[in-house]
């Protein structure tokens, strides 16, 4: 299935006829949910009666909920009961039509599956704990650069990632200068990266401030060299 083509066809029909647009919206909700209930049940290897037992519903009721041709349509309460028994969230919200179109074409039953809370917990905890830590680490490092009298080094945007990579590999080969070997512990404290005198032991993605710091050590015209600036300022004074 050519998803770009289908998306274009849907947009064309929705643009031409508001009635069709509204009808699609309705069918996307009710037909979509029928198939997702089935996908969730199959993902967990449950029979209709087993899911019914979990949700305190009869097997016939589950069968109706999975049938897009059924007379009755599920209420929010029913969906919430199912969400509870499957241990997944339920998200009901207004969205732009672009979202409706994009979700309409994601019909692969495997994509409709959702992890239960217990299954996603480990990943969720890791995401939630690591994100603020990195932000705080960046702020701490910036403060420490300022504290030792150096401006936070910056690199021009063009070719940044390539330049950063080459500087990082260079930094691994060369020992840090004596000045920076002393300054390094002050700039340390970033989760997951360790600065030892004369050597960078590990380096992790997302610690941009540290990469910028390394770039500054081995400046090549595009970088600010805090060391030299600092020396110049000292001589002037």
């Amino acid at each position: 299935m050519n998803t770009t083509l289908v998306r274009r066809e849907l947009l064309s029909s929705m643009k031409a006829d508001p009635e069709y647009r509204h009808a699609w919206n309705l069918e996307n909700v009710y037909t979509g949910i029928c198939f997702q209930i089935r996908a969730l049940r199959e993902q967990r290897g449950l029979s209709q009666s087993a899911l019914g037992k979990e949700a305190k519903m009869a097997q016939e009721r589950i069968s109706i909920l999975e049938d897009p041709n059924a007379d009755t349509r599920p209420t929010l309460n029913t969906l919430l009961r199912l969400a509870d028994s499957l241990d997944v969230g339920l998200d009901v919200r207004f969205v732009p039509y672009g979202t409706v179109i994009n979700r309409s074409i994601k019909t692969d039953m495997k994509e409709l599956g959702v992890l239960s809370f217990a299954d996603e917990l480990h990943q969720l905890e890791r995401e939630i704990t690591s994100e603020p830590e990195l932000g705080a680490a960046k702020r701490r490092t910036r403060r420490k650069f300022r504290a030792i009298g150096h401006p936070t080094p910056t690199i021009r945007r063009a070719g940044l990632s390539h330049k950063r990579r080459s500087l990082q590999s260079e930094a691994r080969r060369k020992p840090l200068s004596r000045d920076y070997a002393g300054a390094a512990p002050a700039a340390n404290g970033v989760a997951g990266s360790v600065w030892a005198p004369g050597k960078v032991v590990s380096f992790q993605r997302g610690t941009n401030v540290i990469s910028h710091g390394l770039a500054a050590l081995h400046g090549n015209g595009n970088t600010v060299i805090p060391n030299e600036q600092h020396e110049r300022q000292k001589k002037k004074s």
């Binding site: 699609w24 979509g32 897009p68 692969d108």
Partner: protein, 129 residues
């Protein structure tokens, strides 16, 4: 990847499936939206099960897709082919009082299936809009 490509049977320059879908007297707009949404979903579904889809007894190879809108029972007849992971819609029919309308719908579908099998150019990618 469970994706299946939907094709329409074409008859010369005409596409009978699209003509039927776009004819508001035969298929109201809301019914068209439901039919298209279900077809789109079936394109991503590996295992088609009753009551939504089933093999038509007495007509080997023919599959009927059952879609109900208000009290109208639509029956889209097609077959799995001509290629791998392809499904060709051959003939759109209705069901009233346990009978196809028109009554010879399965025969027409079977004839068309033979045509497509012998000449693959008699299909066109289904328009989902």
């Amino acid at each position: 990847m469970n994706e299946r490509q939907f094709l329409d049977y074409i008859d010369g320059a005409t596409n009978p499936i699209q003509e039927w879908l776009k004819d508001k007297r035969q298929v109201p707009v809301k019914a068209r939206a439901k039919i298209q949404r279900i077809l789109l979903q079936l394109a991503g579904t590996a295992l088609w099960t009753r009551p939504l889809a089933s093999n038509l007894e007495g007509y080997p190879g023919i599959v009927e897709i059952r879609i109900r809108w208000t009290n109208i029972q639509y029956r889209l007849l097609g077959y799995r082919g001509p290629g791998v992971r392809q499904f060709t819609l051959l003939f759109p029919a209705l069901e009233k009082d346990d009978r196809f309308v028109p009554q010879n719908a399965p025969q027409i579908a079977q004839n068309r299936m033979a045509v497509v099998e012998s000449d693959r150019s008699r299909t066109h990618e289904h328009y989902f809009g």
